[in-house]
């Protein structure tokens, strides 16, 4: 099937830069957790790099996303600064949320990360509201709701898609189908062959796309985003992918067929796209290596800064509960 939209060279490199950023950030996250230097509950997005990278190059800084606990890739692709992110992961006062939110609740409105949620399905109804504001103001903004395949069975999914469809909201629902919800396989819990098919219930476009293929993902994203921006309403995108490191980092993954994971890892989208860029003359090994090294350095600096940064004062418990500080 031909693609309606193909990214130009700069965009291709931008997608790759985001992908390597996500991949390296994940590697360094797992290492730092194992080192004990920054302990955290971590939901690795490794393997899912392509999806938000190919989407975000189609978004403006003023467009917003609502994402989930497994969302570092979505945040980084949207542009959350590494220093602010890492300081938050470390629970420091210099973090995006002054250390009060933590990994599951990263928020950074300046780069369009409005909500990160730990409740399955809840990113969708909230993204609707963000899109509703854009619709009322006529500001041309779009909102993206990220969620997993498991989330497609919860009530909020249904309510959100129906409302978005009825009101033609400028929102894109992106299901990152990594074949598992925690330890449970997609087929065991989901009566639809494809999540994308559920779009028919709301008479909106639903597309299943190879979420590990940057070109296909870019095309699906641009089509949906253009459509939303033009006022033609929401799209449901089901991006097929795989989690390399189980549900939560540290999982034994005994619920998974060993071959399944090995096959997915062998087909790692990041080196695959790297090779494609070189093979197709978009870049060279040397240039990409230089980019990767620069990205790695930036991450290391962010981690160091996070470790060095101060913890918040306990008086913070009385701040941001309400606009007014709670009396001591």
């Amino acid at each position: 099937m031909g693609l309606a939209h193909t990214p130009d060279r700069a965009t291709l490199l931008d997608i790759y830069r985001k992908m390597t950023l996500i991949k390296q950030n994940d590697e360094k996250s797992r290492a730092i957790i194992l080192s004990g230097k920054i302990p955290m509950v971590y939901y690795s997005p490794r393997g899912q790099e392509v999806i938000p990278s190919a989407i975000s190059v189609n978004l403006k800084a003023t467009d917003n996303i609502c994402t989930i606990y497994r969302g570092t890739h979505d945040m980084l692709a949207k542009g959350v600064p590494l220093k602010d992110l890492w300081a938050e992961l470390a629970g420091k006062s210099t973090g995006t949320c002054k250390g009060k939110g933590g990994p599951m609740h990263i928020t950074h409105p300046a780069s369009g990360v409005l909500v990160t949620t730990g409740i399955v399905g809840s990113s969708l109804p909230i993204a609707n509201g963000v899109a509703l504001a854009s619709q009322i103001r006529g500001d041309g903004g779009v909102a993206v709701a990220y969620f997993g395949d498991g989330a497609s069975n919860i009530g909020a999914f249904h309510e959100a898609l129906n409302m978005a469809a009825v009101w033609k909201l400028p929102v894109i629902f992106v299901c990152q189908n990594n074949l598992y919800g925690e330890h449970t396989k997609y087929e065991k819990t989901t009566a639809a062959k494809r999540v994308a098919d559920r779009a028919d219930s709301y008479q909106i476009p639903g597309v299943r796309v190879d979420g590990n293929d940057p070109l296909a993902m870019y095309d699906a994203a641009k089509t949906a985003i253009d459509r939303a921006r033009a006022g033609d309403g929401p799209t449901l995108i089901e991006a097929m992918t795989f989690r390399f490191y189980g549900h939560v980092f540290g999982d034994a993954d005994r619920y998974m067929d060993d071959g399944e994971k090995k096959a997915a890892m062998a087909n790692d989208p990041v080196p695959r796209f790297r090779q494609w860029l070189i093979d197709n003359g978009h870049s060279s090994d040397a240039d990409l290596s230089a980019m990767e090294t620069a990205v790695g350095k930036e991450i290391d600096e962010a981690i160091e800064a996070a470790i060095a940064a101060p913890f918040p004062d306990v008086a913070e418990l009385r701040k941001d509960v309400f606009a007014e500080e709670i009396p001591a």
Partner: protein, 335 residues
């Protein structure tokens, strides 16, 4: 219904007062938007007409009848609120907040804190409840104690048309999520019309009637019977100070404690089930703060520990009324 009330000696009922507040809020700030089931004018502006005229005047872009999807309703309010709108979302009855609790509790209440103050959720959730209309077990519950137990939510319950007007405007203009609880019986009771432009501050209780012997703390539908009790007891030379809490979270400790420090006796009354209700918190704090000054233990009035019954005599017995409140007040003075 409303017109009849208005012509009767210039009084307005709570439906009309709420409608005035919504009109004023939408007129003043284009970020105010309204949605909920049946709220637009083609659907009669709400099942009792609170939102009447809004969609005609401000358009169906800003005033929308929604699907029956309470999670999506509150979610849409939260999302729009984060980016600067001031949504007023209606959940028709308080029992239906149960299907939207995740949105209210895990998100609306917490986003300001979890984002370290980068975002906030300036939304108002209007809902209604109350026994006395024979609707049985699933349409008349009070959950204000739940919401008060959730840090980050403001909980407000008006006791009259003018109070409803002034408090609703304050909720809409407040930068935090407010749960605004209307009473289905009070909807139709006529009262003094609000003075246009008035705001009643959140978090401040109202000493409606001064007295020296007992402080009677109440809110919402229990304000009128509390005043009736104070009236009746004044005949017996018992002077009751009546405080309308107005805001249940965060509640006005200073006003309540100052009053009880004076009277040295207190009763707290509400229509919600008594065990684990709002009265428990207020009673506890009064005891904690004023123990040695109290002449008697604080008494609580609330509905018995039962679902709301249907049959009229059961429903009547279930609803705490003037007699129950009076008995509690008398108990604090050993009569």
């Amino acid at each position: 219904m409303e017109n009849a009330a208005a012509s009767k000696s210039q009084k307005v009922n709570m439906i009309q007062a709420l409608n005035m507040a919504l009109h004023e809020a939408m007129e003043k700030d284009k970020n105010v938007i309204v949605f909920g089931e049946d709220v637009a004018d083609p659907e009669e502006g709400g099942i009792v007409g609170v939102t009447k005229g809004l969609s005609t005047k401000y358009g169906e872009l800003r005033v929308r009848s929604t699907p029956i999807s309470e999670q999506a309703i509150v979610g849409a309010a939260i999302g729009a609120g984060i980016v600067g709108m001031r949504p007023v979302a209606e959940i028709m009855l308080m029992n239906f907040t149960t299907v939207a609790m995740d949105m209210i509790v895990n998100h609306a209440a917490k986003l300001r804190f979890m984002s370290g103050g980068q975002t906030h959720v300036p939304i108002t959730i209007r809902t209604a409840t109350g026994s006395g209309l024979g609707v049985g077990g699933q349409h008349a519950d009070y959950y204000e104690a739940w919401f008060a137990h959730v840090p980050g939510l403001k909980v407000v319950m008006p006791s009259s048309p003018a109070e409803a007007y002034g408090l609703l405007l304050s909720c809409i203009e407040d930068d935090d999520p407010c749960i605004f609880v209307e009473n289905t019986l009070l909807y139709f009771a006529p009262g003094t019309p609000p003075v246009p432009g008035t705001r009643i501050p959140l978090g401040k209780a109202n000493v409606i009637r001064e007295g020296n012997d007992v402080t009677l703390i109440c809110y919402g539908p229990h304000v009128a019977p509390s005043l009736a009790v104070a009236d009746a007891l004044s005949q017996e030379n018992i002077s009751v100070e009546v405080i309308d809490l107005r805001t249940i979270a965060p509640w006005d400790k200073a006003t309540v404690l100052a009053s009880v420090a004076k009277t040295r006796r207190a009763v707290i009354t509400h229509e919600a089930v008594k065990p684990f209700g709002v009265g428990a918190e207020i009673s506890s704090v009064i005891h904690e703060e004023l123990f040695s000054q109290l002449k008697a233990p604080v008494q609580r009035v609330g509905a018995p520990y039962s679902p709301v019954p249907y049959s009229k005599p059961l429903e009547t017995a279930f609803m705490p009324g003037i007699e129950t409140i009076k008995a509690a007040v008398l108990k604090t003075i050993n009569r």
